[in-house]
Amino acid sequence: MNDALEFFIDPSRCIGCQACVQACGECDTHRGTAMIHLDYVHRPTGVQTTPVVCMHCEDPTCAKVCPADAIKQDEQGVVLSAAKPRCVACSNCVLACPFGVPKMQTSFDLMMKCDMCYDRTSIGRKPMCATVCPSGALFYGPRDYVEKFRREQPVNEFQFGAQTVRTKVNMMTAPGVKALPFDVADFLPFEALDEDPLALARAGAPDVADAAVWHELHDPKAELELICE
């Protein structure tokens, strides 16, 4: 087993491309069903997306609420997907997981969730999602690398009301980064805050800069003719 490799999630790097979700289904044990999720936080007001893989809790709530002993944890702390013969499709785990990870496949009567690509990680390879992730938002590698090269800090302890959850998977946090606006209007010139979107659309004035710039210009077409490709 490869104890040195850990899983790190960094939503600040995520570009929402869904490569992780598409690749998840390609893992041999997952057979076309993606077991992780990637959603917009709130698309109307921004493009922030957040990948959700199983956090592999030290004391997994999903397993605690499973009536059928279907969710097992291995010696390395990987919380496996529901055992097919046991799962009774009750959805307890779906409702109880503090991270919203398990999903019920109603057509199969089976809960399927991220098992950290057990077939791969158990033989020292990387999980599918973290292998393909183009942005490094999902990263599987040594903690040393993350501490040395990443500006964000890994944390693996989370508070949900009275419940403290410690996880095998780390979440990267970016303490130094200020909150960013998600509205283009916040980046526009100040007076544009109340600007009419149709302000440029005056009859006979196709370009806002015309009057200011163009009266003093020579003919740009003449210049272009001088340049051969």
Partner: protein, 298 residues
């Protein structure tokens, strides 16, 4: 508590054996070890089941399931029957996962069920065959000491009766071959399968099936050669299988009972008040489920 249930289960089986065989009159002493094994296995299963059913989430479903069943009395029975037919007999959820696995699982579960349905009554002395007085060629089928049927030893009925166990073995064998193919060729299964959980039960079932068939081969075609040795191996493999059931993958056959409770629970939840997402307003579960679940982890 689990110990008491285990002892109770053992006692119930013993009592059933004694009563069913009319005070051991029809008990076949040659099957004594099987009977003892069965009693012990029943105790083990009962112990394991009690431990499991007492865990908060399972207890919640069993409690709610019983409540729902009793609240409207027999009104729920059709729903339970339907769920049993769908989930336990037809196993449609496996078909939706994979037709191959469905056929495989029906062969294994159906064949084993048939085999147990034949052997347990024989072992417990509930059923035996008695030759008709004056007609050694005709046997009577005695169930719990009552004659229920008779057949001629050379007839078709006799052939079926004597070979039903072999037939069940053949069905199981088909399932075993399919399972073996899957375990050998499916990349995903190969990567994740565990000996104790996934391979051992198949080996045990295979050992029982193979030795069972070899007994038939031995007395039919080899003049009984090797019969006693094979019989011992068969006995050992059957006992191993029985003792494996509560402690491994095969225990799921008892845990499936919980899925019946879940069916009732979901039906009731769908009719009752619903829980909605605080952010987007989406209906995501029944109020009852959310409230019940809060009591489970603590």
């Amino acid at each position: 508590m689990p110990w008491m249930v285990a002892v109770g289960a053992a006692c119930v089986v013993c009592a059933a054996v004694i009563a069913g065989s009319r005070g051991l009159k029809h008990f076949d002493a040659a099957l004594l070890y099987y009977a003892i094994g069965s009693v012990l296995a029943a105790a083990a299963v009962a112990y394991r089941f009690t431990v499991w059913a007492q865990r908060p989430p399972s207890r919640m479903y069993f409690k709610r399931g019983l409540e729902l069943l009793l609240r409207r009395g027999t009104g729920r029975l059709p729903a339970v029957a339907l769920a049993t037919a769908d989930k336990i007999v037809a196993q449609n959820f496996i078909r939706r996962r994979s037709v191959y696995r469905w056929v495989m699982h029906l062969c294994l579960s159906g064949g084993c069920t048939l085999a147990f349905a034949i052997t347990f009554p024989l072992v417990f002395g509930w059923v035996h065959f008695a030759p008709l007085t004056g007609d050694a060629e005709t046997y009577r089928v005695m169930v719990l000491g009552f004659g229920v049927d008779s057949f001629h030893v050379a007839g078709v009925k006799a052939f079926v009766m004597f070979n039903l166990l072999n037939l069940s073995a053949l069905i199981v064998l088909v399932g075993l071959i399919m399972a073996a193919v899957r375990r050998f060729t499916d990349a995903g299964e190969r990567a994740t399968q565990k000996f104790w959980e996934d391979i051992l039960p198949l080996l045990l079932i295979f050992a029982v099936t193979a030795t069972g068939l070899m007994l038939t081969v031995s007395y039919k075609f080899l003049g009984g050669r090797g019969h006693s040795l094979i019989a011992v191996v068969h006995l050992v493999s059957v006992l191993a299988l029985l003792f494996y059931i509560p402690f491994g993958k095969l225990f799921h056959m008892f845990q499936r009972t919980c899925s019946l409770c879940v069916s009732l629970y979901k039906k009731a939840g769908a009719r009752g008040p619903r829980a909605h997402c605080m952010c987007c307003g989406e209906d995501f579960a029944s109020r009852m489920h959310v409230d019940d679940l809060k009591t489970v982890p603590d």
